[in-house]
Symmetry: C2
Subunit: 193 residues, 2 copies
């Protein structure tokens, strides 16, 4: 261990690492996995392409690091059951309005199998766990989580990727008021109602 160690174990290259990661997220979000080139990312970060390889091993490794994403779902057990839908839409909107990581993941998931698997994992594990915290019967948990994912990802897809005018122009609170009842029913309702 003759490595250089700063005040708190920070390496001198940490700034570079962060710059690469930030540029990577931007490019992946804007262009998708295949069109975002390592050269372009390196140029944005103002370093040499070979540094990307040194620090992240490969393009896939870089993406894996850049697409680290946590839904940061709130504790649904402490939410009034009648307001679950509302809380959830609002959370999702504010969560990724301004964080381009999800857009990067969303774009990449369409063409890159690894990205798709990661997205599957996020929405299967994190969302299913959150849905399981309140007392619906366990047999329905996965289905409820899947339905919620379908509406929430559809919202993201139409608003941030395809940019459908009515979905782009709508104010967040407008979307909340329309979509909240949907999630509410997916979470606590039955199919027919």
């Amino acid at each position: 261990m003759t490595a250089t160690a700063g005040p708190a174990g920070t390496r001198r290259s940490d700034a570079t690492r962060a710059a690469i990661l930030r540029a990577a997220r931007e490019r992946f979000a804007a262009d998708g996995y295949e069109r975002a080139t390592i050269r372009a990312i390196a140029a944005d970060a103002q370093i040499d392409p070979s540094m990307v390889m040194r620090y992240y091993g490969s393009k896939e490794g870089l993406f894996a690091a850049a697409a680290e994403f946590d839904l940061r779902l709130p504790d649904l057990a402490s939410v009034p059951p009648a307001r679950l839908g509302e809380v959830l839409v609002r959370h999702f909107l504010s969560r990724w309005e301004g964080d381009e990581t999800l857009v990067a993941l969303l774009r990449a998931a369409s063409t890159n199998p690894g990205a798709a698997e990661r997205m599957r994992g996020i929405f299967t594990d994190q969302l299913t766990a959150a849905v399981a915290t309140f007392g619906t019967d366990p047999a329905m948990t996965a289905r409820r989580a899947g339905l919620v994912a379908s509406q929430v990802l559809g919202l993201a897809f139409t608003r941030y990727i395809v940019r459908l005018p009515p979905m782009v122009d709508a104010a967040p609170e407008e979307l909340v008021s329309w979509i909240a009842p949907t999630l509410q029913r997916y979470l606590t309702g039955t199919a027919s109602s």
Copy 2:
């Protein structure tokens, strides 16, 4: 006009054209726009890559031809107003269950600006027109269409692209019974209810 004309104006190359188009749809659906190479498409169609260029001009031209898509929406005016949601989900599911054109368009729209614009056009024009056929106030038509698109595209995205297990495993009729009420409210309801 010294061109060769068959029994009904069919050229000898029409079979080749069709083979290219079929292979292109498959590849675009499976791999997305950038990963689907002209060489691979040509190999599938068992012809030379240069033929693709001759008949479709460029890769973009080929995609434009392969991604020609019509939602074939039914006449919503002749549907009992209370069953609009149900009819619409069922139609969408059966429309693209087995036709990979929409999957190709969906995958490509994530990374290719032209594909995104086409998807925008399809869902703006065709869906908005259909929603406008029954008598809701015109000011809300675009918003209703956008919301329907968000849920319907979210369904497609989670079922065919990300392949979320609960959405893949569900039988079509199960999905209809859950999602129909959502569309019904987007089409005829109010935000709060």
